[in-house]
């Protein structure tokens, strides 16, 4: 539905090419697209107005006229300003001098407070901390039970007090942490509207009673224009210290991040990227800027790849590639490496031009298909894996039987493997760097390039024939 802003800007500047210098009117035209892009991403309209004003000041004149590629320069300025607004550097949690550090979570109903209390506990435990979860949502049915289940999942004790009011529960929770030697208290509170005076006053009482070191506002990344009012309401009442942006694993552009940030001025500390307890990431302003602008999230992809891929094995693999000695053993190995990076549909979404815009629709990532391929390879003898050329008709039949697949499947796998080898031979000259294992993935070039085209509307619903995951899809 929305093409990426980068694409639109390219179009705008294509019209301008040949004119030489960029006039104020040209910049205005580009900024009109930026404005629409930001509004489509749910950035609050007032925030957009200020933002565009600032860009105009910077873009008209010297800055923009100097460069050879004006399109890139405007994108760069927009990206820089956006990144700056989203928060220059990462902000870690702060811990109080005296234990326990109290972290209070607050937000609207359904933002994801309870889930993120669990995720925070898990993350802090991994860092060697000893957190205590405190359940103070006495309103929503089974909210306390939910935190108890979550606590069990992350092996963290959960404290609550039957029949007590939230302030009492918070106080008793802190006392319990002191008694039991927990150095962190994570306080889960009930969802509430920022205009609910009674419930906002309750949060203020909790704040006075337990003096949290961190008050984190939990916000759904899909929030629309309302984000500003929500942030204002909570910030005025509580002076929040930071934000958690949740449900970023959806396809929202997440402009709410910018709205909230510009109102609260406090750092976005974490982002939630899934329903599992380890789906919590540190916030990267530059990546969020690219996402809001619709330019994909190459950095996250690269980082994930680096985290999952064994560098030594990657180097070995690359050597084999260059020598063209790539066999089914390596294939299996690579397959497992990539799967370690996370679900494939998530990984593909991070690629500019593929994410968000629905380009992946139809291209269903069938993980069970990979399992089938693995089954076929595992049904080969070691010798067959090393020398696929020896796999004749009867061997194919045996492999098919052994893996519970059809002989046609085996044929297809062998053909694709040969094709892939050919393709890799062509690409091996450009591999190296972070991701030698993902040839065939388009557009993983620099994030500011803005040249990553979304597949045309025509084949949006079908897997584009030019795009093949290295392991082949049947």
């Amino acid at each position: 539905m929305f093409e990426s802003l980068a694409d639109k800007l390219q179009d705008v500047f294509k019209k301008l090419s040949g004119k030489g210098a960029l006039t104020e009117a040209d910049v205005a035209e580009a900024l009109r697209e930026v404005r629409l892009g930001l509004l489509e991403a749910d950035v609050n309209f007032k925030v957009v107005k200020d933002f565009i004003g600032r860009i105009r000041e910077r873009a008209v004149g010297v800055d923009i006229l100097e460069g050879l590629h004006p399109a890139q320069q405007v994108i760069k300025i927009v990206d820089e300003e956006l990144t700056a607004l989203l928060g220059g550097e990462q902000a870690p949690l702060s811990f109080s001098a005296k234990s326990p550090t109290v972290i209070m979570l607050c937000g609207l109903q359904g933002a994801g407070k309870t889930t993120h209390a669990g995720k925070l506990a898990q993350m802090l435990r991994k860092q060697g901390r000893n957190p205590l979860l405190v359940a103070a949502d006495i309103y929503r049915p089974a909210a306390i039970k939910q935190l108890q289940v979550v606590g069990e999942q992350v092996r963290t004790p959960v404290f609550t007090l039957d029949g007590a009011d939230p302030t009492k529960i918070a106080q008793a929770g802190v006392a319990e942490a002191i008694r039991a030697g927990n150095d962190i208290v994570i306080l889960d509170t009930a969802g509430r509207l920022q205009i609910d005076e009674t419930l906002m006053a309750e949060l203020q009482r909790i704040k006075v009673a337990v003096k949290p070191q961190e008050i984190l506002l939990v916000v759904d990344a899909m929030t629309g224009q309302e984000a500003v009012a929500v942030a204002q309401g909570f910030h005025e009442a509580l002076d929040v210290t930071g934000l958690i942006l949740t449900k970023l694993d959806g396809d929202t552009r997440g402009g709410a991040a910018l709205s909230i940030k510009s109102v609260v001025g406090r750092p976005i500390k974490f982002v939630g990227v899934g329903e599992k307890m380890d789906a919590l990431e540190v916030f990267h302003p530059d990546r969020m800027a690219s996402r809001i602008l619709g330019m994909g999230d190459v950095l996250t992809l690269i980082e994930r790849a680096e985290g999952a891929l064994d560098q030594k094995k990657a180097a070995e693999f690359e050597k084999k590639l260059r020598a063209n000695k790539f066999d089914f053993e390596d294939y299996l190995e690579q397959m497992q490496q990539v799967r370690k990076m996370g679900p494939l549909d998530q990984i593909l979404k991070l690629i500019p031009g593929l994410g968000g815009a629905g380009a992946l629709k139809g291209l269903e990532i069938d993980e069970s298909h990979l399992a089938r391929i693995e089954g076929m390879i595992r049904s080969m003898t070691m010798q067959e894996r090393r020398e696929p050329g020896m796999i004749n008709g009867s061997r194919r039949r045996r492999i098919a039987m052994g893996s519970g697949s059809q002989i046609q499947d085996v044929n297809r796998l062998l053909t694709q493997f040969e094709q892939m080898k050919k393709m890799m031979r062509g690409l091996s000259g450009m591999s190296g760097g972070g991701m030698p294992s993902l040839p065939g993935m388009p557009g993983a070039a620099g994030k500011h390039s803005g040249s990553n085209k979304t597949p045309s509307k025509k084949n949006k619903r079908k897997p584009s024939p030019g795009f093949k995951f290295p392991f082949g899809r049947h």
């Binding site: 489509e40 749910d42 609207l108 359904g110 629309g224 009012a229 449900k247 929202t252 402009g255 629905g358």
Partner: protein, 298 residues
């Protein structure tokens, strides 16, 4: 209720804007545009409305500010009413009538299911609930507690159980109890996760099989009124996976206006059927077009 909810507030804002000036200028149209975008109307719908207004101002069909508001109201009204007024909730020819409630995480599905059950029960209907969110921690307990609170039976699955199996059990139970309605609560799922949408299709298949080829009488997508443009993606994906028949717009008790539903009606032709206005059992209303239009033109 609708007076302070939904779209009324757009017009309060626009009315304020027009007070004290009768002339139409570009500044006024821009403010109008901001008012619509501020209510989370989709940018394309907004631009379409504005283009129409500008064209009519240009050829003098709209002469003063009052004309402009009137026309804007008509534009939104036409958009919402295209294809006739929102139909009421469908009822099956033979009981039980089955409603499937779907949506992304945290929009208020479980609460909406409970409130709808309460509403139907107060209309004298026998209602059974299926707690088919076996994924989220304590979601089953949450619905079970609601069931106790509003006094309806809840068919539960164990945590981690196959939701389609829970639905199967619930349909048998609803038939055995001669229930008029079965409301199925499902786990929250982001619309871009294909495996979770497949799970939903499977639930749908079970419903169809057990109802003798009939699909759920209503498949209602719950939307959070604070959600912005992404609501359109949600509606589109859920529609293509399980062909939703209507929307429940939840959390309209805040200051959010949920204007995105206009675009969803416009682009996907999915009508709003119910609105959620609070956390109490009685806080749900049918989306009544007449009441709504009255409030709009008051």
């Amino acid at each position: 209720m609708l007076k302070r909810g939904l779209f009324k507030s757009i017009f309060q804002k626009v009315d304020q804007m027009f007070t004290g000036r009768g002339k139409i200028d570009e500044e006024l149209l821009e403010e109008l545009e901001e008012a619509l975008i501020g209510a989370d109307l989709n940018i394309h719908t907004t631009m379409r409305a504005l283009d129409e207004l500008r064209a009519m101002v240009a050829d003098k069909r709209l002469k003063d500010a009052t004309d402009v508001t009137d026309h804007l109201k008509r534009f939104l009204w036409d958009t919402l009413m295209a294809g006739g007024a929102s139909p009421v909730l469908s009822v099956a020819p033979s009981a039980p009538t089955v409603y499937l409630i779907v949506g992304v995480n945290g929009v208020g599905k479980t609460t909406s299911v409970a409130k709808l059950a309460y509403k139907l029960q107060r209309e004298g209907k026998r209602v059974v609930l299926a707690a088919a969110d076996t994924f989220r921690a304590a979601a089953v307990e949450q619905l079970a507690l609601w069931g106790e609170r509003v006094g309806v039976e809840v068919v539960k699955g164990r945590d981690g159980a196959d939701p389609a199996a829970v639905v199967f059990d619930a349909i048998q139970a609803a038939k055995a109890r001669k229930a008029d309605y079965l409301l199925i609560d499902t786990a929250g799922r982001l619309h871009n996760k294909s495996h979770l949408m497949e799970e939903l299709k499977k639930i749908n298949r079970v419903v169809m099989r057990e109802l003798g080829g009939r699909s759920a009488d209503e498949t209602l997508l719950v939307l959070d009124a604070t959600t912005g443009q992404n609501a359109v993606n949600q509606a589109r994906e859920f529609k293509s996976a399980v062909s939703i028949t209507g929307l429940i717009l939840a959390k309209l008790d805040g200051t959010a206006r949920g204007g995105i539903v206009i675009t969803i009606k416009d682009e996907l032709n999915v009508p709003i059927k119910l609105i959620g206005t609070g956390e109490k059992p009685g806080d749900m209303e049918y989306f009544d077009a007449q009441t709504f239009i009255d409030a709009l033109f008051e």
